[in-house]
């Protein structure tokens, strides 16, 4: 009977499909939080599998900071067209224009934290009761404690000390009006698992993940791409480097690494030999030791 076991990638896939189907069965109005990053692309791919031969039965929600890589937006639009699903866009620019939030000041100002308000507004406006995210427990120490089904109160806040126990595969998505859930189908995947799976399934990803020549400046120990939103210091110098991105966020805060990995095979090999965590190049996590936990409590992804 020894052939009756799954490889770990198959087991992770099956677990994620199970969770996505539970979301669909337990909630009225779920969405996939889509950022254009590899984790949300993976979740979308798994959702295709979960509901095949039906198409994905719920919309994608993109929180648009306005500070995007143009490649990400192009990728998003192509994908939406192919999947024939609805796209909801929550605009941070709109939140700023309507006075819901104020732009941060200073050199390292980003729109990262502003997304929280835009996200929660979009959830409320569209009556979303479950937002499916690509968060993984290996990413960050606060995320290590996330449940598959993670409760948010009517202010959208997470209370990490008062989480519902989650046993076996029994998921409790019950909630009162105004509250919502976050669901994390790829909780148990690591960065390495994600890349191995993307390679195995040959999933399309934005070209930004592959090594390419780019104008960058050296800031906070990584290569920050030059864009119209970047304010250069006098002593900062623009260089052209062959880089790639390990994660994709705002163009203003996502640092690249020097790399020659221009194929999925090479990326898998490179990730396997990595000595730094993938969020090490994200200046949003460097603000304090508990930066992620603090943002998550307020309603971050």
């Amino acid at each position: 009977m020894s052939k009756y076991y799954l490889s770990y990638l198959d087991e992770l896939e099956s677990e994620a499909i199970y969770i996505l189907r539970e979301v669909w069965a337990q909630f009225q109005n779920p969405v996939i939080l889509f950022s254009g990053g590899k984790d949300s692309i993976l979740v979308t791919h798994l959702a295709r599998k979960a509901f095949f031969p039906s198409k994905i039965p719920f919309p994608l929600l993109h929180v648009d900071t306005g500070h995007n890589f143009p490649e990400t937006i192009q990728f998003r639009d192509d994908m939406i067209k192919e999947l024939a699903v609805q796209l909801i866009v929550g605009s941070v620019q709109e939140s700023i224009d309507t006075g819901r939030v104020a732009e941060e000041k200073g050199k390292s100002a980003t729109r990262n934290a502003l997304q929280i308000t835009t996200l929660l507004d979009a959830i409320e406006k569209n009556k979303i009761d479950c937002a499916i995210g690509g968060g993984r427990r290996d990413e960050e120490k606060a995320r290590a404690k996330e449940r598959f089904f993670s409760h948010r109160d009517d202010f959208g806040q997470w209370d990490p000390k008062n989480q519902r126990p989650e046993l076996w595969n029994l998921l409790n998505g019950k909630h009162f009006e105004g509250e919502h859930f976050r669901a994390f189908p790829i909780s148990n995947w690591t960065e390495m698992d994600v890349w191995n799976y993307i390679k195995r399934e040959d999933i399309k990803i934005p070209s930004l993940y592959l090594a390419h020549q780019r104008e960058v400046v050296w800031r906070n120990d990584s290569w920050i791409p030059v864009s119209e939103y970047l304010k250069l210091d006098d002593n900062e110098k623009v260089e052209s480097k062959k880089i790639r991105f390990r994660t994709l966020g705002d163009i203003t805060i996502t640092g690249g690494i020097e790399s020659e990995a221009d194929t999925l095979e090479k990326i898998v090999a490179e990730v396997a030999a990595m000595k730094q965590t993938e969020r090490g190049n994200r200046s949003d996590d460097k603000r304090s030791e508990t930066a992620m936990e603090d943002r998550k409590r307020q309603g971050y992804f």
């Binding site: 087991e11 039906s54 126990p165």
Partner: protein, 418 residues
């Protein structure tokens, strides 16, 4: 690709601040090279700030702000590492009695449990508690790590004595597979690398034991059970009349052409196809997620279960279970709760608390009938409609359930059917 053949092993650890659990996990992660340089740097800095000599490995597993401030684990935290042989998920749980519910949670999906014993203190109350929970949750494999051997001069006699102590009380428990290991997590003896201080120990180090543990037979392959999660009806050109029952195989094996029974209706049919986006399959087994189509047009919905005619679960409306209470508010007398069992949901009432168990001494208490936070008890329960159940001992999926309080929507208890 070689990596594609590797299995996943989930194990749980329970322990308190003092017995070196966090150090052991830190050691496993560090020696198996699952720690990144920036994580190491952060921990080195904190170690220095706190005035520790060298790197405090325990800091790798600290998570939330409160835990970092208090230096304890208060919730289940999940850790990941991979070796060339396996991928591992650690459910790291606190060991104190006030966190019994977290231990139970971490144990519910584990293939293996690591129980830590401080070699200086031998078997203590906490050891019995952890062993009880491992046995209650039917974790198939237990590894007892006798830690801090460096503090007892690597004495074989101390080690053997502790094994005797452990076996004396564990004979009362139902445990399938148990092994013992003398280790020193602080120095790394017998964790990833073999100890050079204990020549008298001939066994393999901990990581090797975890890598080679036989887990393929942990999953029930006899009793075919397929709880239906949702029905797929694409209603597009290509799949006009398609009706797929989506779910994950809970146990056993299903093949195309199998005669099946749908519960609770009792209708029979035959499996027409087993579908995935990557194509149809001839057979599936636990824990695969698929969609099943049948030859006949039967009304099936979420909560129904597809099984085989000659091997069916029991349809019960009243049964006994071991229950762990999770909530600050005690169970209300004869109150109704929502019971979630596989994909099925009904109302249920706790009819009787048969006895409560003291998980430190295993003594039964038939007098105290009130279920409070962290209590473990045998109860009788009644549901509004029959559930299709197996004993938890035979089937961890169809033998388990949780109770939800309709007033708060919180998960208040977890049960194992006996």
């Amino acid at each position: 690709m070689e990596i594609d053949k590797n299995q996943l092993l989930r194990f749980t650890t329970a322990g308190s601040v003092d017995d070196g659990k966090s150090t052991l996990i830190g050691r496993l992660l560090y020696d198996s090279k699952a720690i990144f340089e920036d994580q190491l740097e952060a921990v080195e800095n904190t170690s220095k700030k706190k005035g520790h000599k060298g790197v405090d490995l325990a800091l790798f597993t600290d998570g939330l702000r409160d835990e970092r401030e208090q230096g304890i684990t208060i919730d289940v935290a999940y850790r990941y590492f991979t070796t060339p042989k396996r991928k591992f998920i650690i459910a790291d749980t606190p060991g104190h009695i006030q966190y019994t519910r977290n231990m139970v949670t971490g144990a519910s999906t584990a293939n293996a449990a690591l129980i830590l014993i401080d070699a200086r203190h031998g078997v203590i109350e906490q050891t019995k508690r952890h062993a009880f929970i491992a046995s209650l949750l039917q974790i198939p494999h237990i590894i007892v790590c006798i830690n801090k051997m460096d503090l007892v001069d690597y004495s074989e006699e101390v080690y053997q004595n502790i094994i005797h102590q452990f076996e004396e009380f564990s004979s009362k428990l139902y445990v399938k597979d148990i092994q013992f290991l003398p280790i020193s997590a602080l120095d790394g003896d017998n964790v990833v690398n073999r100890s050079t201080n204990m020549d008298w120990y001939q066994g393999a180090p901990l990581l090797h034991a975890l890598e080679t543990m036989h887990i393929s037979s942990d999953i029930n392959k006899i009793d075919a059970r397929f709880p239906v999660q949702t029905v797929l009806r694409p209603q597009n050109e290509e799949f006009r009349d398609y009706r797929g029952y989506a779910g994950r195989v809970a146990s056993g094996i299903f093949r195309k052409g199998d005669e099946v029974v749908i519960l609770p209706s009792g209708f029979t049919s035959k499996i027409r196809s087993i579908d995935t986006m990557d194509g149809s399959m001839e057979e599936v087994f636990a824990p695969m997620s698929v969609a099943i189509t049948l030859e006949d047009d039967i009304d099936i919905s979420r909560g129904d279960m597809i099984v085989k005619e000659n091997n069916q679960p029991k349809a019960l409306q009243e049964f006994d279970a071991m229950l762990c209470w999770f909530n600050n508010s005690p169970a209300r007398d004869r109150a109704k709760y929502t019971i979630v069992h596989t994909s099925n949901e009904q109302k249920a009432m706790i009819k009787e608390v048969v006895y409560k168990i003291d998980i430190n001494t295993y003594a039964r208490n038939e007098e105290d009938k009130q279920l409070k936070m962290n209590d473990i008890a045998r109860i009788s329960i009644r549901t509004t409609r029959p559930l299709m159940v197996d004993e938890y001992r035979d089937n961890r999926v169809t033998g388990s359930f949780v109770l939800i309080d309709d007033a708060s929507h919180e998960t208040v208890a977890a049960g194992m059917i006996v």
